[in-house]
């Protein structure tokens, strides 16, 4: 008897089960609530561009001028916020930033063309949250350069231009200054010899 004359009923049933599993997989595929709008490569470009930072001077201008719509978010904790903050700022501590209501609010602001400025006690604190906002598509979110500390200093007229990413020293010179005593045991740093392993290989090798 020819195999193909068999009625492939069981085959069809199994195949249908397989298809159902895959369709179920497709249907249950939950779309993540928040999606990255920037690729990692675009994020790299963002970090290199120095875009998105706002100096206290500029913030003052924006607040006093009537043309720009600005919202300020203070991401420090409530205690710190209570002790003093930029006038008009809204306190949302860092861990609450991505909560549903806040995202809705931010979306609303984005649609209405608001500029959002976030700040922490220093720039570091707000840096990460700002990057997350930018990566999930809030291109209207800016970070206050220097954070609250520097803002206060600016208010008290005790500061010069803020440039956190510049070298404060000529490292090569400073680090070598003592060698002038004559002894040169400051060997040039060895170049690293990292074993370049590929990440693959989590699976057990061996095979058949």
């Amino acid at each position: 008897m020819h195999v193909h004359e068999l009625n492939p009923k069981k085959t069809v049933i199994t195949m249908v089960i397989f298809v159902v599993v895959i369709i179920a997989g497709l249907l249950t595929l939950t779309n993540p609530r928040l999606k990255y709008a920037l690729t990692p490569e675009q994020t790299v470009l963002l970090t290199v561009s120095d875009d998105g930072g706002i100096t206290p001077e500029k913030l003052e201008l924006m607040l006093t001028g009537s043309t720009e719509k600005v919202e300020i978010i203070d991401i420090r904790n409530h205690y710190e916020f209570a002790r003093g903050h930029i006038p008009g700022a809204r306190n949302i501590s860092a861990v609450e930033l991505l909560e549903k209501d806040n995202i809705e609010w931010l979306k609303d602001l984005q649609e209405k063309g608001f500029t959002v400025v976030i700040y922490g006690k220093n720039q570091m604190q707000a840096n990460g949250p700002w990057m997350v906002f930018r990566q999930i598509g809030f291109s209207n979110v800016h970070v206050l350069l220097g954070g609250y500390q520097y803002y206060l200093a600016y208010k008290n007229h005790e500061t010069q231009n803020y440039s956190p990413c510049k070298a404060d020293f000529n490292y090569a010179e400073v680090a070598k200054v003592s060698v002038t005593s004559g002894e040169d045991n400051n060997q040039p740093a060895k170049k690293t010899t990292i074993v370049r392993r590929k990440k693959k290989g989590g699976a057990v090798a061996g095979g058949c």
Binding site: H2, F18, I22, G25, K200, G202, A203, A205, G206, G207
Partner: protein, 201 residues
């Protein structure tokens, strides 16, 4: 989520129980499909029985498509799935020997186990020969150690090799498999007409 054992979701002695179960299902399917008979298997080379091709290709496309879907759903991390490393020279030679052994012996190791299980002496002889072959290989290993590891391409996938996505590869495999099923069906019908003495064992 998966694979479960490399991610240590299943640990301890359970993995051997699972090995036993998976192996058992494997043996059952092979035997039930008719792979315990060398004449069924060898039929693929003479056109009178393409059961090997059918089972083999169906299994391959189902697993391949399923694997890609599972990866898409995030159910399985493909980086943790063992991708057989490619050693070009050695594998070409190995494939050559296996093809020869296949057409002469009429079994492959997995099917010979099931043949042994149902009492086929030719299965026992094949399995013993297989064991001797592995032994001979290991004894002679120092002579061809370099050849064994030559032309190492690493854990390369078919898609990476040809520069197209693995989804396209899977799609091509499915199309080729289905065309092959149809063509072999035609061939089989023809060959069987002229072949009266053959019957399923």
């Amino acid at each position: 989520m998966g694979p479960l054992i490399p991610q240590e979701i299943i640990t301890g002695q359970w993995d051997f129980v699972i090995a036993l179960l998976i192996g058992g299902a494997f043996g059952f399917i092979l035997e039930a499909s008719g792979f315990s008979s060398s004449r069924n298997i060898a039929g693929v080379f003479y056109g009178y029985n393409f059961v090997v091709l059918r089972v083999f290709f169906t299994a391959m496309i189902v697993a391949m498509v399923g694997l890609l879907y599972f990866s898409y759903f995030g159910w399985i991390d493909l980086d943790l799935v063992f991708v057989l490393p490619t050693y070009l020279n050695s594998m070409l030679f190995g494939g050559f020997l296996m093809g020869l052994g296949f057409v002469i012996g009429g079994f492959c190791p997995g099917t010979s186990y099931t043949a042994v299980a149902i009492g086929k002496i030719d299965g026992i002889v094949f399995a013993t020969g297989f064991l001797i072959g592995v032994f001979l290989f290991a004894e002679g290993f120092p002579f061809y150690e370099d050849f064994y590891t030559a032309n190492d391409l690493g854990n390369i996938t078919i898609g990476e090799m040809f520069g197209i996505s693995n989804e396209w590869i899977a799609f091509l495999f499915v199309v080729v498999a289905i065309v092959a099923f149809y063509v072999t069906w035609l061939i089989e019908k023809r060959v069987r007409k002229n072949m009266t003495e053959y019957k399923f064992e």
